[in-house]
Symmetry: C2
Subunit: 319 residues, 2 copies
């Protein structure tokens, strides 16, 4: 397969693994990169020591790193430490990338900006983003309301209008070869895949939580603020997170103010459940594509099957 | 182009025009059918006289009719009157199709069931639906929360598992040839298109409302209950409607209880605005794909361009 993304990143599959907070460590990132995609360490809320460890684990593979932009703004010194690890790309999501773009560009590191609206895409293009990721609401974890299907071509048209060299990836609901083929048809140069790699042997996910997710359908996920409220994470109001419904989410979704009042007790309960894999309380950050996944697999196998399926879809398209 | 849908419906383009309430009359439906797709009269809330007039207007073209299922349940006698017009297909959305499926099947009329979840799709398959429409949240007008991108392949997999002959169409965010090509990659046999035909010369839309929509981006739409509250329409709680934001929507979205208290005055104001095309109050039932549309056109031209673009996308896919 040949796309502009493959050429620009020096990869063989037009697939970037989403830098999923807590789940995407060095093992997953390096497995994806070794299989021909671009693996990403989920730098998330910016635990510098953890990020360093994950780069060590990935040593020998060319991997990138993702950071939550509004959190990076609280600890901007982190950017230099991440750039010092010579990441294959820097992936910024959820906030204004403008303050950080110059340092990333100066370091010669490709800047990937994940956006959820056309407005955000314009801001990212103004910052000189090399790759725009159009993330639809289907995605697991944090995001916004617009769906993948119309967002991708609308941003493709905007890039064409501006006549820039920026590339475009689709994210949200892309789980298999059909999704990659469809994203290319919509005008994307490649895809960002989270949930399918979240359900891999290399991801840092509790096996009981993973097992529960493998039995779920796409109907079983929901966008909610419950998980951020219980963790005391101060996310900007426009974002919420897609997770698998479970009794904990069902109890508190729509009652977030009440949850705040009991945050101490509930936070301890939630944190313990994340450790023990108590599926009634622990959170599975899964997207709607979870309904297309029935079992975990090694990340390299996932990517190889996805590419073969996509090529079969695309070859069949002409006929 | 050859797909199973084309063969099953005796059409030349795998495109069904969404039976949009109030906007899709006989002029639009017949124009789409004459151009090679399947045009549909938007039977909506079941005004039998209006539906009859629209069939008269479409006389000579083979068109179908769509009905809102929960509303049909309140006036089930309507079904016989519609079937008496020998529709090319009966399109049921929003509710349990089971009570109506036998009469439709007995009449030899293809039964199209629009669904918003995998659970709904299973119910529709149990009813013997000939065509399942997987409608994502991007769609204009009524619908639910799941996005098109993962819903379509998940329902495709369900149809394959059940080994039925049911066909699948994608709806929600499909506006141009890229969208049709992508939907086919996701496993659909065709597409249902609303907003792009809403912005046609034949649709029953006030020109000022249409002009405003043509200047909008996909960021400018929202799913809300405001319009149903002001009209006093008793929609089941799981559904809401995607519309273009305007001052009226911005004022009342999130304040629906307050709107109920002022429903008399506001209803009159809203109804008048629909007539006069006051864009600050009148509702444009547009999907997220509105950002991909910059001008209205004759429905036949829309379909011809969409098909040519899709074929170019698909032909390019193999390369």
């Amino acid at each position: 397969m040949k796309t502009r993304l493959i050429k620009a990143l020096g990869i063989t599959c037009p697939v970037i693994q989403a830098p999923m907070a807590f789940a995407a460590g060095g093992a997953l990132a390096s497995a994806v990169s070794r299989a021909g995609g671009l693996g990403m360490i989920g730098g998330a809320y910016g635990d510098a020591a953890w990020i360093g460890q994950q780069f060590d684990i990935a040593a020998g593979a060319r991997v990138g790193c993702g950071l939550i932009t509004w959190k990076l703004a609280e600890r901007p010194h982190l950017l230099g430490r991440v750039l010092a690890r010579n990441p294959a790309a820097l992936f910024l999501s959820f906030g204004n990338p403008a303050p950080f773009a110059p340092a990333i560009k100066d370091a010669g590191v490709p800047l990937i900006c994940q956006v959820q609206t056309l407005r955000d895409a314009r801001q990212a293009l103004d910052c000189g983003a090399d790759i725009i990721v159009a993330q639809g609401a289907e995605a697991g974890g944090h995001g916004e309301a617009r769906g993948t299907f119309a967002l991708v071509p609308e941003i493709a048209d905007e890039i064409a209008r501006q006549n820039t060299s920026a590339l475009l990836c689709a994210a949200g609901g892309i789980t298999d070869g059909r999704g990659l083929a469809a994203a290319l048809m919509l005008g994307a140069d490649g895809v960002v895949i989270g949930t399918r790699f979240w359900a891999s042997h290399e991801a840092l996910v509790h096996p009981r939580v993973l097992k529960r997710a493998m039995a779920a359908t796409g109907d079983d996920t929901i966008r909610t603020r419950v998980v951020d409220v219980v963790r005391g994470y101060d996310w900007p109001g426009r974002y919420n997170g897609r997770v698998l419904r479970n009794p904990f989410i069902q109890k508190w979704h729509g009652s977030e103010d009440a949850l705040k009042l009991e945050a101490g007790v509930e936070a301890a309960k939630w944190a313990a459940a994340q450790e023990t894999g108590d599926i009634d309380v622990a959170t599975a950050f899964a997207g709607e594509g979870v309904g297309l996944i029935s079992s975990a697999a090694p990340a390299g196998d996932i990517l190889a099957k996805l590419m073969a399926d996509a090529q079969r879809c695309l070859a069949g398209a002409a006929a």
